[in-house]
């Protein structure tokens, strides 16, 4: 395969059979359409290119900025496409809740604007919601925007009508699957593929998956949110079902660990929803049938999403010399000194004073002559052993004397003979009228 441009690599993604030993369906062959293997990483590459391409020449001429309401994959694809053509890209959203995606977009040169939260005190005179204002700004005459408008743009659906759908039929040797299962975000892929399949064989059954209402699954809308999508037509789906975030992650784990498909939670939701739906229907016929679901994107962008919901999946082995290992009794017995004692001690024995606060707080005000080792760094430091000579007395200080007591106990346990914690911390120091400097 040789291409002149990366955009030529969009589409023609593989259709991979899921091992029946994994999904446990006896009479149904389940296939994953791996949209995650598109060059920018998701099913949205097709829609982004389909929507942007015809407008690019004019946009380049006018120096327009590409704008889209997107929290993730469409923004990513558009940011790349805009960048390749020397255009800026701006994403406006109120749902970008996955930090890696935010960072990636910034890396790609995107500008991100977050819509404000709801007003805590209802303002009955507020006539326009932020989205309406956004659309008004875009349509204002003279503004140079290329607005791809993914929730309403027919070219979003068309990309799948002419691409994704026919590809599935081709890879099934000209047959249409009995079921097509898709998560609903912009409704572009599900609508486009469903239409393409039905044109070949109207008996295909289409399952739309939405997120459970109180849950958040990136890339999927809830049953109410889909109503805000212009491309959404309830008639497209033979049935709509909801998937919870936990179920999406379960499905994702199965794809990742047992199928070697490194898809993200949306693909996981599609897999989970597909198997759940099909299992109930398996008994109705003994003949072999086929189902296809879409793996929308890749797992790498969702690690913090997983960490938040299933920290157990990212468990790490216990660390050495961690203050977390100390018992309350050990912390309680940590050697400490009052502010008055500390001042005398500093005068007589010149202990090394270590301030564990952040560098910003330290820079603002600190005990004269102290050194700043931020607690996070200090934790790393002691993991390898004592960071001070045993002959050097040490006074540890933190805001209220809590962390410093932990570290004093830890260092004592590690064998330091004279490390003490400043009781009451820098706050007690200040309250006692002892000098703090800013040098």
């Amino acid at each position: 395969m040789r291409y002149d441009s990366i955009t030529e690599a969009i589409g023609n993604t593989p259709l991979v059979r899921i091992d029946p030993a994994v999904h446990g369906l006896r009479t149904i062959d389940l296939y994953a359409k791996l949209e995650m293997l598109n060059p920018f990483g998701s099913v949205k590459d097709r829609a982004a290119w389909s929507m942007a391409e015809p407008l690019l020449a004019e946009a380049v001429e006018q120096g327009s900025q590409v704008v889209e309401l997107s929290s993730g994959n469409t923004a990513k694809a558009l940011a790349v496409i805009a960048g390749m053509h020397g255009l800026g890209f701006k994403s406006v959203t109120n749902r970008m809740r996955v930090p890696e995606i935010k960072d990636l977009l910034l890396l790609l040169g995107a500008e991100i604007e977050e819509l404000p939260g709801q007003s805590e005190c209802l303002d009955p005179t507020a006539t326009d919601d932020p989205l309406t204002l956004f659309h008004r700004t875009l349509s204002a005459s003279g503004s140079a925007y290329l607005h791809t408008d993914q929730y309403f743009n027919a070219r979003n659906t068309e990309a799948h009508l002419t691409g994704t759908g026919p590809e599935i039929v081709k890879d099934l040797d000209g047959r249409v699957p009995d079921w097509f299962v898709a998560c609903v975000g912009t409704a572009g892929s599900s609508t486009g593929v469903a239409r393409a399949l039905r044109e070949e064989d109207p008996s295909v059954r289409v399952v739309g998956l939405v997120a459970a209402k109180s849950d958040f699954i990136p890339g999927i809308r809830t049953i109410d949110e889909v109503q805000e999508v212009g491309l959404f037509d309830p008639e497209t789906y033979d049935t709509m079902e909801s998937v919870s975030a936990d179920e999406a992650i379960e499905g994702m784990l199965t794809l990742n660990r047992r199928c070697g498909i490194l898809g993200g939670p949306t693909g996981g939701a599609a897999y989970f929803g597909a198997v759940r739906h099909l299992r109930a229907l398996e008994e109705e016929s003994q003949e072999r049938r086929t189902a296809v679901f879409i793996v929308c994107d890749r797992v790498e962008s969702y690690l913090s999403y997983v960490r938040q919901r299933r920290p157990d999946l990212l468990g790490r082995p216990p660390r050495q010399n961690s203050p977390a290992d100390l018992s309350d009794a050990e912390v309680g017995e940590a050697p400490s000194v009052t502010v008055a004692e500390a001042r005398r001690w500093i005068e007589t024995d010149r202990p090394l004073v270590v301030d564990l606060r952040s560098s910003y707080a330290y820079a603002a005000l600190h005990i004269d002559g102290s050194v700043n080792i931020v607690d996070e760094l200090f934790a790393e430091l002691v993991r390898g052993g004592l960071p001070f000579s045993r002959r050097q007395p040490v006074l540890l200080a933190c805001p209220v004397g809590e962390q410093s007591a932990r570290y004093a106990a830890l260092l004592t346990r590690m064998g330091h003979p004279d490390v003490r914690s400043l009781a009451g911390g820098i706050i007690a120091w200040r309250d006692a009228g002892a000098p703090l400097v800013r040098d």
Partner: protein
């Protein structure tokens, strides 16, 4: 009615639940004092304060919790708070007088909002902290202090328009505060008036439910305080305002089912759920839902003190990613908060008597008229949707199962609707029954109340538990030492 009733059952914590169950007491109260009637529960506000304090303690933070007075005019609630270590945030001359009269020392009061000269003078005269909106107000305050030979006044510099790097947050523009970009001008003014004002820190208040926006502002405030320090000032505090919210409903499922039902109704897929097909901000544009739901998020997984806790745990990207609470602590700053609504969670209810229950010729919802005006029970004005509790006049009353009703007020106006939505009640109310609207103490009691058409505004009583019994007095008669309050 279409399918199952869409209940929005109020969340009742033990104290309010017990009050709602004291049916004879509530009937005898309205018999004696009329309908509508507000009942406040002062002991609850002290408990709510304690929840905020425990968040402060968990983060080792010092500073003050200032009750935002404007949320309720009650003397009883204010006096009960005066007996705790809370502060009060006052937004008018009247509120300042009220707070001083309730027993708050000047050190526990901050004056915020738009100020007239009298308000500013009394604040300066008594030595309360003034949250200063702009250079002009600082000039005005300094002039007052010099002219009347007053002691220097502690001020907080109120800021707005915080900006982020990387991701731009499109916060609503605020009428209040000085844009953070103009802080230097404000500091120059503070230095010019060093004889008359003592800048104790900075303040902000954002009207948003978004934790991210508030975190941005708090991070911006830390940067502003650093600028103060670099100019030789010694700021000590940051006031982050309020807006921590209440979760009004008992069940998340109720809220989800209702909002989905409303969406379907707006799209014409089920019969209207509101009087006249009102969409609460949603509209149908050729089959697609447009607009934004203009309702208070009545069920929230995180509200009140828990919201503050979540805010304080947010990392500050420009300050090494440390949590905001840790940064406040490390910088030795006091944290001031100004919760109004959240401190009033579960602090009272509003009673209204049913005057008339009328069936329509066409069937459908019952029309229920109450002895109250919509502005006496201003839940709808604040977008809060929550069912009233039916308190029957005698025993259980007639059964008959769930009914759908529209609740109207007593004004001779088409618009006097207590609720614009169809309310589902578990049983048909009868004339003489009371409807108890729970959790109305925050903004829904007297913020909007009028005496239009010579109809009375609701009276207010304070109630407290004495063993198994509920005792009460007129709101104005309540003091923390009022006889019969618990063990004497």
């Amino acid at each position: 009615m279409d399918g199952r009733p869409l209940y929005l059952e109020p969340r009742l914590e033990p104290r309010l639940r017990s009050l709602v169950a004291a049916q004879n007491t509530l009937h005898s109260l309205t018999d004696g004092l009329g309908s509508p009637l507000h009942v406040v529960v002062p002991d609850q506000i002290a408990e709510n304060l304690e929840r905020f304090r425990s968040v402060y303690r968990a983060h080792h933070l010092s500073g003050q919790v200032f009750y935002a007075h404007k949320a309720n005019r009650s003397s009883a609630l204010l006096r009960r708070l005066a007996a705790t270590d809370a502060g009060v945030d006052v937004a008018s001359l009247g509120e300042l007088q009220h707070a001083l009269g309730a027993g708050f020392g000047a050190g526990r009061i901050t004056a915020t909002g738009p100020k007239n000269p009298e308000f500013l003078w009394l604040a300066a005269r008594t030595g309360v902290t003034v949250s200063v909106d702009a250079v002009a107000e600082l000039d005005q305050l300094a002039t007052l202090v010099r002219k009347h030979a007053l002691a220097p006044v502690r001020v907080l510099l109120r800021l707005s328009g915080f900006e982020t790097t990387g991701v731009k947050v499109l916060s609503r523009r605020s009428r209040f505060g000085t844009p953070v970009g103009e802080l230097e001008l404000l500091l120059e003014a503070a230095e010019r008036h060093a004889d008359a004002v003592d800048p104790a820190g900075v303040a902000f208040h954002l009207d948003t439910t978004s934790v991210a926006e508030k975190a941005t502002a708090l991070e911006g405030s830390l940067a502003a305080l650093e600028l103060c320090r670099s100019r030789g000032l010694r700021p000590r505090a940051v006031d982050i305002g309020g807006g921590f919210g209440i979760s009004y409903l008992a069940e998340r499922e109720h809220w989800e089912a209702y909002t989905t039902g409303l969406t379907e109704a707006v799209l014409g897929r089920r019969p209207p759920l509101t009087w006249g097909g009102h969409g609460y901000g949603l509209r149908n544009e050729s089959g697609t839902l447009r607009g934004t739901l203009g309702l208070y998020p009545a069920h929230r997984s995180v509200a009140g003190a828990a919201y503050l806790d979540e805010l304080l745990a947010q990392p500050a990207a420009s300050l090494g990613g440390r949590p905001l609470a840790a940064l406040l602590l490390e910088h030795l700053y006091d944290l001031h908060t100004e919760p109004g609504r959240a401190l009033l969670d579960q602090c009272g209810l509003t009673l209204a008597r049913v005057l008339e229950v009328r069936a329509q010729d066409t069937g459908g919802e019952l029309l229920v008229r109450l002895a109250a005006k919509a502005d006496d029970i201003a839940l709808e004005d604040h977008g809060v949707l929550m069912d009233p509790v039916v308190i029957p006049r005698g025993g259980a009353g007639p059964g008959g199962g769930p009914v759908a009703v529209h609740l109207f007020g007593s004004l001779c106006l088409e618009t006097d609707l207590i609720t614009r939505r169809t309310v589902f009640l578990p049983r048909r109310p009868e004339p003489g029954d009371l409807l108890a609207f729970a959790n109305t103490a925050g903004y829904a009691m007297d913020f909007h109340a009028t005496r239009a058409q010579h109809q009375p505004a609701a009276r207010k009583v304070a109630a407290w538990q004495d063993g198994d019994a509920w005792r009460w007095c007129l709101d104005d008669q309540f003091w923390p030492i009022t006889p019969l309050r618990g063990a004497q």
